[in-house]
């Protein structure tokens, strides 16, 4: 019999998250898991899913593989308007999300590596007294799986799990950098509004984290909210007056809003040994001078 994977004397308490249950359909556990977590957030927050269950099915199944790749689960969940936050592969991280009522979708291997049966399921809670994980694993809602068994199944995917969150919510076990990457993934797939909401939300926790501010400034600039972008770039320079990327991008913005003189002055403030940055600044300066009005 497997041993409990939890540290001795842990003080994980019981949680039960009210995640709507969707009955399993063969080969579509990824799509079904996203649907369950999406409807949970829809019932809790103003979040509205962008895709129907049918669209989720179409975006996740690879017929010849009879299942869904982790990347496609993440891409489909993001396309559905949810931020995809990969949790640290630990029980601590899993329980941290559960304690804030964030369901986590895990990948497990129900069998052994020589005959793998991969499966996705949302974790919906924990029963500390019975030592069971609650999960919409299969046919019955909130199935209680002994923590030891769950530990064995989860270990086989290297404890892979993602929290799917509306862009206005922060994960519990959050790293600023991992969150920024997850939010930027929205932008890279054309969902700039979601990205902006996520950046703005994250600023409440890290108001002076320069890469985050820079991402927000860029997102405003890319979506033509010029005065907002200018405000954010200038705020970065209050924190770090020599931050070359903000100096460069603000110079570009000023140039495009007929303020070339100030733009050139900003570029003069860049001091760096980095050849790539020097080239960048040189090019920006050249362009401004060439087209100066």
């Amino acid at each position: 019999m497997p041993k409990s994977p939890l540290p001795l004397n842990n003080n994980y308490s019981s949680y039960k998250i009210d995640v709507p249950f969707v009955a399993p359909r063969s080969k579509l556990c990824a799509s079904t898991s996203i649907e369950m977590v999406s409807s949970y957030w829809q019932s809790m927050t103003p979040y509205v899913p962008r895709l129907s269950l049918l669209e989720l099915d179409e975006r996740t199944l690879i017929p010849a593989k009879g299942g869904t790749l982790q990347i496609e689960l993440m891409a489909a969940a993001r396309a559905n308007g949810l931020l995809v936050y990969p949790i640290e592969p630990t029980f601590d991280a899993l329980f941290a999300e559960l304690s804030e009522r964030h369901p986590v979708i895990v990948l497990v291997n129900r069998s052994f590596s020589w005959y793998p049966l991969w499966h996705y399921a949302p974790i919906t809670g924990y029963d500390a007294k019975a030592q069971t994980i609650l999960t919409h694993f299969g046919d019955e809602p909130n199935e209680a799986v002994p923590i030891a068994t769950f530990g064995e199944l989860w270990k086989r995917s290297d404890n892979w799990g993602v929290a799917l969150l509306p862009p206005g919510r922060l994960p519990a076990s959050v790293s600023a950098k991992v969150f920024l990457r997850a939010a930027y993934d929205f932008e890279k797939t054309g969902m700039t509004n979601e990205a902006i909401i996520a950046y703005e939300t994250a600023l409440s926790r890290w108001p002076d984290y320069v890469p985050l501010l820079f991402a927000l400034g860029n997102a405003y600039y890319n979506s033509h909210r010029i005065s907002k972008a200018e405000e954010v770039y200038r705020y970065i320079l209050l924190i770090d007056s020599k931050y070359p990327y903000a100096l460069n991008n603000l110079a570009d913005l000023l140039f495009h809003t007929q303020r070339s003189e100030e733009a050139l002055k900003l570029l003069d403030r860049v001091i760096t040994d980095d050849v790539e940055i020097q080239t960048l600044i040189k090019n920006t300066r050249k362009e401004i001078k060439a087209k100066k009005i």
């Binding site: 010849a64 990347i71 496609e72 129900r110 046919d139 799986v145």
Partner: protein
């Protein structure tokens, strides 16, 4: 052969050269260390090829052709590259039902046993003894 390589490198050098001449805004990706400050044309080309590879492989694996475009478009550059390189090795989560290989009784019995002692969860009718 030599000529075509020459032509190719000429085209590539022009495209890289023009890239360097035009000023540009530094993207968020550049500071996250995902690509160089100035997006090179070469990186963009690699991306286009990776996405084409994924689309082709999806078609071979029976993905509905209407959905392929949306699926590839919803991936980030890193995700598309990873799938292009490793699609045959990546695990695919499937379902929770019992999928017994009818002929292999041995596997059935082994997994039945391991289900009962609680190290696997293959069949929905088993309850592990530490439950």
């Amino acid at each position: 052969m030599k000529v075509s390589k020459l032509v190719l490198s000429f085209i590539l050098s022009i495209s890289l050269f023009t890239q360097i001449l035009s000023a540009q805004v530094v993207s968020t990706g550049a500071i996250l260390g995902r690509h160089s400050i100035m997006d090179s044309s070469k990186e963009k080309l690699v991306q286009i090829i990776a996405r084409q590879d994924v689309a082709k492989r999806f078609q071979e694996l029976g993905v509905d052709s209407k959905a392929i475009e949306a699926r590839v478009a919803s991936m980030t550059d890193e995700e598309a590259s990873k799938i292009a390189l490793q699609i045959d090795m990546l695990p695919a989560g499937a379902d929770a039902g019992a999928s017994v290989l009818g002929t292999i009784v041995f596997i059935f019995l082994v997994l039945l046993f391991t289900d009962i002692i609680g190290v696997t969860k293959v069949f929905s009718f088993t309850k592990s003894i530490n439950n």
